[in-house]
């Protein structure tokens, strides 16, 4: 019993340590062992990479101790990347993916086929962070304001460390959706005063979170800013249809009760006739 408690304590200690483990990639080259116990034998593997720099990930098959093969199809999913699935197996023990994350956020690494230990291979994450080293320091401001009842005006301004405007450079505007995804809504180019503007569609009462990302380059550093806006509410100009109505429309419910009720009452009449046959 005592030994069991000690083992349990050690196991809990070990698990709590791995859940907080974060590998830092240096040189944007990462090696990951893939086994039934997870990525690098962790069910919640996590690694940081820098946005705007090439990342090379090498996956290595690590289920050799199994009698049979346990292939894994590894996929990296997330906003801003479109990567192929790679396979590691006994016959194909290593696979490499190279990509350049364009903006900050979290990418998910997972095995997309049923395999032994698949529950440990769905929670890996790659955190794309702002570059630690970059060019000249840049200031990026983002301002959101209602343009009309159905759109928001996003205005960005890019200046260098001395406050001078930076013109003719693209800035990505990314809408962070309410379901956790991201949509690039536009890539405006700054004009002579370092500003750029873009119209984003919005609904009355909708809360929008928008990121503006400048990738840097040509001696300029990476810059990012996030802003939020909640659109003012407005009365609906069109009444909701029955399908989207939260409560059952009375007329519909009444009609259903009358139609279906009449049919079933008639069935009852027919059943009465049938059971009365016995009397005749």
């Amino acid at each position: 019993m005592f030994l069991k408690t000690i083992r349990l304590f050690i196991a809990v200690l070990f698990l709590s340590s791995v859940t907080t483990f974060t590998a830092h990639a240096h040189g944007q080259s990462i090696a990951i062992m893939v086994s039934r116990e997870g990525f690098d034998r962790m069910s919640n593997y996590s690694v940081d990479v820098e946005a705007g720099h090439e990342v090379t990930i090498t996956f290595t098959y690590a289920d050799d101790d199994l009698t049979g093969d346990n292939p894994h199809d590894i996929r990296i999913l997330g906003a801003g990347v479109d990567l192929p699935t790679v396979t590691v197996s006994r016959d194909n023990p290593t696979a490499t993916i190279t990509f350049t994350p364009t903006r900050t956020g979290t990418l998910t690494i997972l095995c997309v086929i049923p395999c032994i230990g698949m529950e440990n291979l769905v929670g890996g994450s790659i955190h794309v962070v702002q570059p630690f080293t970059s060019g000249a320091k840049i200031s990026l401001t983002l301002d959101l304001s209602p343009r009309d009842e159905q759109s928001v005006l996003a205005r960005v301004k890019l200046t260098d460390a001395e406050g001078r405007p930076i013109s003719d450079v693209p800035v990505s505007l990314v809408l962070n959706t309410s379901v956790g995804g991201e949509i690039v809504v536009g890539v405006p180019v700054t004009v002579v005063d370092g500003t750029a503007a873009w119209m984003i569609p919005a609904l009355a009462g909708q809360k929008l979170q928008v990121s503006a990302v400048f990738q840097g380059g040509n001696g300029l550093g990476y810059a990012q800013n996030i802003a939020e806006i909640t659109m003012p509410g407005a009365p609906l100009s069109v009444p909701l249809g029955a399908l989207s109505s939260p409560a059952p429309p009375f007329a519909l419910a009444l009609m259903l009760v009358i139609v279906v009720g009449s049919i079933w009452v008639t069935f009852g009449f027919v059943a009465y006739q049938v059971f009365s046959i016995r009397k005749g």
Partner: protein, 535 residues
């Protein structure tokens, strides 16, 4: 073995010998169960068992065992559902309309139609539950259903229709149940119990007849709108969405027309099988086939009209999101299936159904300079050459279209010639011709549901690189369940036809037989040299 089964399940030649001629003609399949019946049941039960095994696999592994995913989330199960509900309409149509119009020729075939309704609904209603993956979640619709959801309307209407169809099937069975109760006295206890309970103490008094007539007339009036309602609501499952390809205002009548056509065609198939299997030539005559063919033709033409209306209005505009769906049907991934279904499943059957009803085209015999097989072979040769020309000329380098087109036209010309020479053969054999047309329509009905469901879902609203190539490929589990459901449907239908007479005994008793024999069946035009219709 057969003797043992006969003892357990019920076969009595002793009782059978005491029946009168009319009863003997119709009740033989009920009284005498032979080896063929047992083998057929065993074969169908085997396929049904395989379907059950496939379903258990799905229960164990979840819907991941199917080809359905988040993009294409409806597949074979919903196709089967719409198909089964569709063919179930025929019972309501035939029995209700023909009863209300007093058409006596209906008597030998109404029970076949009503039984199709009952058996098809049983398996049609199961399909959405199978599609759920977690069947216990069906109760969520009852306890947490939203009355404004078409899914709930579907559940209500199908439950109502199944109840109504069961009553509609049962009512005209009551006098025949009483007949079996009185005459099948050596039946096993379980069958005697069924006949006793379902005969409701019928003795044939005038008052009982009056009550039965009242009940049957009421149901005849009621069942038709219910049937129309059910398939309209089934179509609304699709049409109430905003999906391109389903977002249509004519889906209700479009589905109802298709359902009635396929249901009527399935009765033609049932007629020919039972006629041969149960020796019912005396009751199901050429006249019945002719009338049914006219009905199938009318419904098929209505369905063709709805197809044209649906596709032409969309194709003329080719607007927005509809464009991708229509392009996949007209010239894309589903083009082959689409055109084959439209031509072989709708247009060709219409011609086949017309041919035996029109004057024999004797002049076509003059075209028979060469044997049809030789013409077909030449046609195939030309079509092959057309394909080959297209293929090789891409390497040679000159414009291949003209040569390929010439071969294609040649192939079509010879193919058309071969088909023309077959017309006298088809006109001389009305029943096989009707049956070929009916079979094509029933197959079309299933494929058409595939065309309605799958191509639309393969054009998702949001495309994501991670889920690109969202193609639907049904797995063996889905095919297994589909085969099992079809076998189960046939099994229920077959057993029903052996438990009760598939042609109503009491309704065909009073002169209808004579009427059917001496009716206008022989007024069908006969080609020269053909003495009687070949079956």
């Amino acid at each position: 073995m057969t003797a043992l089964l006969a003892k357990l399940l019920g076969s009595s030649t002793e009782d059978f010998d005491k029946l009168n001629t009319h009863e003997k003609a119709l009740l033989r399949p009920v009284f005498v169960w032979g080896r063929g019946f047992y083998l057929t049941v065993a074969f169908l039960a085997l396929i049904f068992g395989f379907g059950v095994f496939a379903y258990l696999t799905q229960l164990r592994d979840g819907l991941a065992a199917t080809g359905m995913r988040d993009t294409v989330s409806w597949g074979l199960y919903i196709i089967n559902f719409v198909f089964f509900i569709g063919i179930s309409h025929v019972g309501a149509l035939l029995s209700s309309i023909l009863r209300l119009t007093g058409a006596k020729w209906r008597h030998p075939i109404t029970r076949m139609a009503e039984s199709i309704t009952f058996a098809a609904l049983l398996f049609g209603a199961l399909m959405p539950i199978i599609d759920l993956g977690r069947p216990e979640r069906m109760f969520n619709l009852i306890f947490s259903g939203r009355i404004q959801s078409p899914i709930l309307w579907d559940i209500i209407s199908i439950t109502t229709y199944l109840t109504g169809s069961s009553i509609f099937l049962l009512l005209p069975l009551i006098p025949d149940m009483a007949l079996l109760r009185d005459k099948f006295i050596h039946a096993p206890a379980w069958r005697r119990w069924i006949y006793r309970i379902l005969s409701f103490g019928w003795t044939g008094t005038p008052e009982q007849h009056a009550r039965l007539d009242r009940a049957m007339n009421t149901m005849a009036v009621l069942i038709l709108p219910i049937a129309v309602m059910v398939h309209t609501v089934v179509s609304w499952i699709f049409a109430m969405t905003l999906r391109p390809g389903w977002n249509s205002t004519i889906f209700g009548p479009y589905f109802v027309a298709g359902a009635l056509a396929s249901g009527a065609a399935s009765v033609v198939l049932a007629m020919v099988v039972f006629r041969k299997m149960y020796r019912l030539e005396e009751f199901i005559t050429l006249k019945h086939f002719k009338y049914m063919a006219a009905l199938v033709l009318t419904l098929n033409l209505a369905y063709i009209y709805f197809n044209i209306s649906e596709y032409v209005t969309l194709a003329y505009k080719m607007e927005g999101a509809e464009k991708a769906v229509l392009a996949s049907l007209f010239s894309g991934q589903f083009a082959g299936l689409f055109w084959v279904t439209q031509l072989l499943g709708l247009i060709v059957p219409a011609f086949l159904l017309v041919l035996p009803m029109i004057k024999p085209m004797t002049w076509i015999k003059r075209l028979r300079v060469l044997p049809p097989m030789l013409l077909a072979a030449i046609s195939a040769l030309f079509l092959g050459a057309s394909l080959a020309t297209s293929f090789f000329n891409t390497f040679i380098g000159f414009d291949p279209s003209l040569v390929a087109l010439a071969f294609l036209l040649g192939g079509l010309a010879f193919g058309g010639w071969a088909t023309l020479t077959l017309i006298p053969w088809l006109q001389a054999r009305p029943i096989p011709t009707f049956v070929i047309a009916a079979a094509l329509i029933v197959i079309q009905a299933w494929l058409k549901r595939f065309i309605i469901v799958v191509p639309v879902l393969e054009q998702p609203f949001i495309t994501d690189a991670a889920f690109e190539g969202a193609l639907y490929n049904p797995t063996w589990v889905e095919w297994g369940i589909t085969a099992g459901a079809l076998a189960g449907f046939l099994l229920v239908y077959l057993i029903l036809s052996r438990m009760v007479p598939i042609v109503s005994v009491w309704e065909t008793k009073h002169g209808e037989v004579e009427e059917t024999v001496s009716g206008p069946a022989h007024a069908l035009p006969q080609p020269a040299g053909v003495s009687s219709p070949e079956v």
